[in-house]
Amino acid sequence: MRKLAVDVVVIGGGSTGAGVVRDVAMRGFSTVLVERADLGQGTTGRFHGLLHSGGRYVVSDPESARECASENEILTRIQAGAIESTGGYFVTCPGDDPTFADKFLAGAANTGVWAREVSVAEALRNEPRLNPGISRAIEVRDGTVDGWKLVWGAANSARHYGAQILTYHRVTKIETEAGRVTAVRCTSLRSGEEVLIECDFVLNCAGPWAGQIAAMAGAHPVEVVPGRGIMIAMNHRLVNRVVNRCIYPADGDILVPAHTVSIIGTTDVKVDDPDNLAIEAHEVQQMLDAGEVLIPGFRNSRALHAWAGARPLIKDDRVAVSDTRHMSRGMAVIDHTTRDGLDGMLTIGGGKLTTYRLMAEHIVDAMCDKRGEHRDCRTDAEPVPGSESGRTHLVSDRLHDREHDRFDEQIICECELMSRKMFTDALASQPAGSFDDLRRQLRLGMGPCQGGFCSVRATGIALDAGHLDSERANGLLRLFLKNRWIGLWPILYGDQVRQTALDNWIFQGTLDVEHLPQPTSEVVL
């Protein structure tokens, strides 16, 4: 067993945990973040990609709207590299109540969310694929955000301030003594080694799993109501701005241009198990229909990949449990002292990725209060590593980079313009990582061919780089293909079926991948 001792253990490596560990470290505490998988592998890697302007909440939830507006500005400053400032529209589609736009504008004025009505002609000029039947359009400052870049940025900043990050470590127990948290036990999923981390404070940022973590400390159950939402990435940017329906928040009312794709979403269904999120066929149809309303002909474009995430909402008695959309997205910090008579632990739930920094500020403030000391939050003042220039991301950045290094570097993933060096650098920093771990940082295999051409190259290069042996290399290839399929088969139609058939001809036809020596046991991480 390995032993560590720190002031604060942060549990969960999503946006919330990464933001919290950064804040804790910047305030001078010694700290460790423990994540059972890779950073950003939970909800944070399965969200919609929207950096809210606040517009979505100006009518339904003014408090959230205000928070989004100010956090949007802060993040654009401190995490510029993760953000594309696309701008956005709220549009009134045929059949939508045109007076909602008036409520919207009033709400925006009221909450300080920047908004400006533009002519339909202007909106259509800027977004020519938009439904020409829209009757009103309001411009807002929505953006898009790469959740993985954001998390890595925050985590790297935390490391810079001395924090440790333990990925692939699952928390199994929180030790208490005389009503106080004393240590966190976890297990390395790679080596099986037990790790005991002595600490005097635990910040539970396990998102939809926060209830499970609270239970490990013997607290009364924190009821988390995971609200499952599905999203579908469509090939190409059908729009270059975020496009929202100008209606009371509903299913499938937002289209987000993220990197090379556009993402339609989402749904909201209460589920019991955040580890088991299905993508139902009827929900896929619902999203395609919803897309059609915004972009006529939507169904004819190619769906690349689908995924589902679970909103980490903490139960709020004011609304029915089955209707998670109308629960407050506002964050809730649960104080286990008053609730359970347990000192040294706080749980945070709710919130949004857009407000992750603010959530961190709240919970760390609460912790400082409980410790009876005051330390200032400085997370809004300093850019994270990689975002120092303040320059936001552009979809053309990679093209620009490849134009410059194309005589020196091979392109390993053509769809996403990933160079060999990008891959080998990421591999060197995460030598035990799976190709999915690398994918989250590099977008390897996320384009139209879904790994058809790049994954064998990646396998060979990883082996050549000396980080693994051929058995693991094959195992990682198998795992990568299997994992890509999870998001492919629910949305398989049209050109993506063609692509799949081509990929099958390549992998099974030409390469006969199935008849590689079978691994003694399947690689799982």
Binding site: F453, R457, T459, N474, Y493, G494, R498, W505, Q508, D512
Partner: protein
């Protein structure tokens, strides 16, 4: 003279066009692009896995389920087809219908195939062989260490083992280019000077008795480039096929196309056939999407050789409806629901066995077995019931169904 329209320029369409032209039929070949033959591995598979590894492909053809296309096609047509191709392309295809080659792939698996190119044969795995797999730095689709290590730890199909190591050489296909396609390398290998330079970079690193495995880029136009290189290296060499673009696939496509043109086939490239007209139980013409209103092609018989899902001949739409996209033919295999499931490494997705049913003349038939049109035939990947990539049967089905269809058509028209 009677006239036949063949739609599709994959293996099925090209073989059928050649066969028909050779017996004096006037053939028009319409295609919207070259087919899978030029993208694939460049060998002729007949049966590779059933589902166990197949050593005698023609025997395996004889023992398929009744729903499998080989049942309607029959083993005799497969033999005729293989014999035909070997005679038509003696510089490109060798092999024995009763014995599969077992050849290394570009990930280091050992893959069965029936006819292979002479440049590949030395790769046929044998107990105790010593292989050296040579990667070229500028060619990213060939990762020699992965290939060598996988080959070395794989028990051979007949029980033995081989030894394999790898090495890299850095010989750019074009000055200053570090990211070249297989095609660029193939054109370089057509050039004797390049072969001299390449041999020089490799030869000193070879050990006695080693067989040299190289990416399948050893010449496109010059079909003897590989032999010349072997001479320069004074070692046996073999080619390992790469993902598309496939140089061996291109060699086959170009050779079959050249033979077809020489036999008098009129090829109309780059046109999509979009509709047809019929009268009674016969198709009278098809129309391509060319110019305003398209261009019609009337004929006495029509062969649908448009491939499968990969070529757009079959389509699954966003409402989950499967269609044959040109004639909207009735489809077989739709009863195997769900058509798509979530297990990647599980059983074949039933969707990919969906296709057109045929009778022993290769006429497209409905569920009752009645020809949809008296003069509409189908060949190749469009036929229902096979899992071409898992079985390694796609080429054999395309080839033999084309042989049968061509024979039935010429008999009908005679």
């Amino acid at each position: 003279m009677s006239r036949v329209v063949v739609i599709g320029a994959g293996l099925a369409g090209l073989v059928a066009a050649n066969r028909l032209a050779e017996v004096g039929v006037q053939v028009v070949l319409l295609h919207k692009g070259l087919g899978g033959l030029q993208l694939g591995q460049g060998t002729i598979d007949v049966f590779g896995y059933a589902p166990e590894r197949v050593f005698n492909p023609i025997k395996a053809v004889g023992s398929v389920a009744t729903t499998h296309p080989y049942t309607a096609i029959g083993g005799k047509a497969v033999l005729t087809g293989l014999d035909y191709l070997k005679k038509l392309l003696p510089e490109l295809l060798l092999g024995d219908p009763e014995s599969n080659y077992q050849l290394p792939t570009a990930v280091g698996a050992i893959r069965p195939t029936c006819l292979a190119q002479p440049s590949m044969i030395a790769g046929h795995v044998t107990d105790g062989a010593k292989l050296v797999i040579v990667g070229i730095r500028g060619l990213k689709d060939f990762q020699p260490q992965l290939i060598a290590e996988n080959l070395a730890r794989t028990p051979l199909p007949d029980g033995g083992r081989l030894r394999a190591r790898h090495l890299w050489v850095d010989v750019p296909a074009r000055d200053g280019e570090i990211d070249s396609s297989g095609l660029t390398y193939a054109r370089a290998f057509d050039d004797e000077d390049f072969r001299v330079r390449f041999a020089k970079a490799v030869v000193d690193q070879l050990r006695e008795d080693e067989i040299v495995g190289l990416p399948a880029v050893l010449g496109l136009k010059d079909l003897h480039a590989w032999r010349d290189l072997a001479g320069k290296l004074a070692h046996r060499v073999f080619e390992i096929p790469l993902p598309p673009p496939s140089v061996p696939g291109l060699r086959l496509t170009e050779a079959l196309t050249a033979r077809a043109l020489a036999a008098g086939v009129r090829i109309v490239p780059g046109v999509r056939t979009v509709r047809y007209a019929s009268s009674g139980d016969r198709v009278t013409s098809v129309t391509t999407a060319a110019g305003l209103g398209g261009r019609g092609y009337a004929a006495d018989a029509f062969l649908l050789a448009t491939g499968g899902f990969e070529s757009g001949a079959l389509n699954l739409d966003s409402h989950q409806v499967v269609r044959e996209t040109l004639f909207d033919l009735p489809l077989a295999g739709l009863d195997q629901t769900p058509l798509i499931h979530g297990e990647y490494w599980g059983p074949e997705q039933p969707l990919f066995k969906v296709g057109v049913a045929v009778n022993p003349k290769m006429q497209a038939v409905d569920a009752a077995g009645i020809p949809v049109f008296a003069n509409l035939y189908a060949a190749g990947g469009i036929i229902a019931g096979a899992s071409g990539w898992t079985e390694k049967s796609g080429d054999g089905i395309a080839l033999a169904s084309a042989i049968v269809a061509a024979a039935a058509i010429s008999k009908e028209l005679a």
